[in-house]
Symmetry: C2
């Protein structure tokens, strides 16, 4: 999903410890996330990458997933203040997908929170300056906590052969890491945080390198170990993430959305003893009932263009929602999309019409998330 337009380079649009390898492998497109370059395509097409990710293993430079470190006596207090997810029983070594919201219950970010110790957390963030939000809160509330962007550069290994590749380097310990847990394993004598997580539904790990000077060595070690397993350079795959129902901040949700309409109710606690910013607003929204919610959309038998701005979803010419991300699925032989559907129209199989930004209309229908593994009858 690229324009013919190039990206300028500067210090501001930061590289990562892996950029030299990514460019040597012929990266063709970048996205910018947290003022850091995210490789988005190599020599294969997004469809070739999709099949490869489902069958083999890929190495992704996701250094743009910056780590906001919250550290100090009030670290747990500040972290809990920022999210409706109940972290009171969180244990060291666990990862938590967590919506962050403001006083109006508007989405600020949806990081993975890693509990490193009782007084130290990393928030592995999507594309907004959580450090500034956290620092502002700490300053205003007078909390005893230090907030900074840590010098940590995640690398993702994703796909069904991920365990095989990492076992070659880290031994069988890596296989025992449970889903959304992490362990510290040694790389060249340096402790490396490895979590079973990642921005795909194909399994795999994220390696949180906190010593950038080891970046190329770590990349090379994985790359070399991966040769027997048909490894390729990759990136979050748009087809796979849409089918998997993985949301993207700034695409599927903005600060104008609350976590309930984003389908994140399972991560929102309303326990009376739990205190977090935005709870009153969120309770009010829950009591009134949400008016829209994210769904999958399946439409059209011709490839759609990339979605650069919300597309209209209509029923009998009345707007009933928007498409926020869309791409051709080689598996469904239709376009798959994520979008926000109004109440009354969000039931799976509801017929809808999608109009893209060029005015092209497509017949489609609502689909529950994630998209099914088996074919959908049309």
């Amino acid at each position: 999903m690229t324009t013919p337009v190039k990206l300028t380079v500067s210090r501001r649009q930061r590289g990562t410890p892996y950029t030299a390898r990514v460019e040597a492998l012929g990266v063709s497109a970048y996205s910018i996330v947290n003022r850091t370059i995210l490789p988005k395509g190599f020599r294969k097409t997004v469809e070739e990458d999709y099949w490869h990710l489902r069958e083999h293993v890929q190495l992704w430079d996701v250094g743009c997933q910056r780590q906001i470190e919250v550290c100090g006596p009030d670290a747990a207090k500040l972290t809990q203040l920022m999210t409706p997810r109940d972290l009171r029983k969180a244990k060291v070594g666990q990862c938590f997908y967590a919506p962050l919201i403001d006083a109006n219950a508007g989405m600020i970010n949806d990081p993975i929170i890693l509990k490193l110790s009782e007084n130290r957390f990393w928030l592995s963030i999507a594309d907004s300056d959580v450090a500034l939000w956290a620092k502002g809160l700490a300053q205003g509330y007078g909390l005893d906590v230090a907030v900074q962007e840590a010098d940590v550069w995640p690398l993702a290994v994703q796909g069904p052969k991920s365990d095989d590749v990492l076992e070659t380097i880290f031994g069988s310990d890596v296989r025992e890491i449970r889903f959304f847990r992490f362990k510290w394993l040694e790389f060249q004598g340096h402790p490396l945080l490895i979590a079973r997580s990642g921005y795909s539904k194909q399994g795999g790990f994220e390696l949180y390198l906190d010593k950038p000077s080891l970046g190329l060595a770590l990349w090379d070690a994985i790359w070399n170990a991966g040769q027997s397993f048909n490894i390729s350079p990759g990136s979050p795959n748009l087809i796979e993430r849409v089918e998997g129902g993985l949301l993207s901040l700034g695409n599927e949700m903005t600060n104008a959305n609350n976590p309930l309409e984003c389908g994140l109710e399972q991560y929102c606690s309303f326990d009376p003893d739990l205190h977090y910013i935005g709870k009153t607003a969120l309770e009010r929204i829950r009591a009134a009932g949400i008016t829209q919610q994210i769904r999958g959309v399946l439409f059209g038998t011709q490839k759609c263009p990339p979605c650069r701005q919300p597309w209209r979803i209509s029923v009998e010419e009345m707007q009933v929602g928007i498409v926020t991300t869309a791409i051709w699925s080689p598996r469904f032989k239709q376009n798959v999309a994520l979008g926000m559907l109004d109440r009354g129209y969000w039931t799976p199989n509801h017929p809808i019409v999608i109009t893209d930004e060029n005015g092209q209309r497509y017949a489609g229908k609502v689909v529950a998330l994630p998209f099914p593994e088996t074919a959908i009858s049309t």
Copy 2:
């Protein structure tokens, strides 16, 4: 300054009300600022654009300069809390270039602050989420203020013929707008904030359109009026901004820098009655004396590559600073750069050696900012 790498498109990397015109005019490169596309090149080279900007007039889509609106009874209080610049005597209709700092006196942003009314300000920001910082502070301090990103999309008209072009549309009133002041003038019956400001030293205006549906009409009106004045589409010009000593957040300065070392002392008040976040830290830095400061650098008689990461500046093989932005100047027939020089080495004309990211070494010297209009003897 582009790679051969393309930029992916999505809703997250936002277009502006002017994007359709920018793309029709053949934009060749984008940068991303505040998750919004900033056009960075058209059909001319950066050198051709440089001469054109100095002699004629250009139309720039700077919608990425997002407006953070601070509104309510505590708006002036919150705005002042965020900056060392003394805003106590600020008048409605004035613009203020202002460093924003955190409790450690680290730079957070360097917006232009527009005072719209006693209780309403726009912060026209560089590339960081000032809205989150301001909202965090407002939340923590319990201030009676609303903070939001306003639906405002600046368009810049820059170059010596800017007054001529805008007079055609807005009449002679526009000529009377003083430097860093603004007026509301009418466009198609809608009041439009026009300020005499902009990210060049060639004169001109910024038009703060708060009705995006008028975007194409406004672009077209300026474009058509500009035909008699040799208008061209443009963008902040790297050569011109380096020579003019205009800083770029994320390039010349990061959160690791304080405003004194960024050469912004004139915007920092130490009045005992003035209260702002980071004042204690800034006073301590001032008392101890800064250890480095931004300077111009002139070096090499061969074109340097784009600066993607800080380059080493050395004297007798000892590191004494970094170059953060560099580009060939057709006027000086040398490379011009901005960088941070250690105390003891920051005096103009001090000879230095620059080593770029490919290991290439260049002889150079320190230059006071802005670069002189007349030639520099070497």
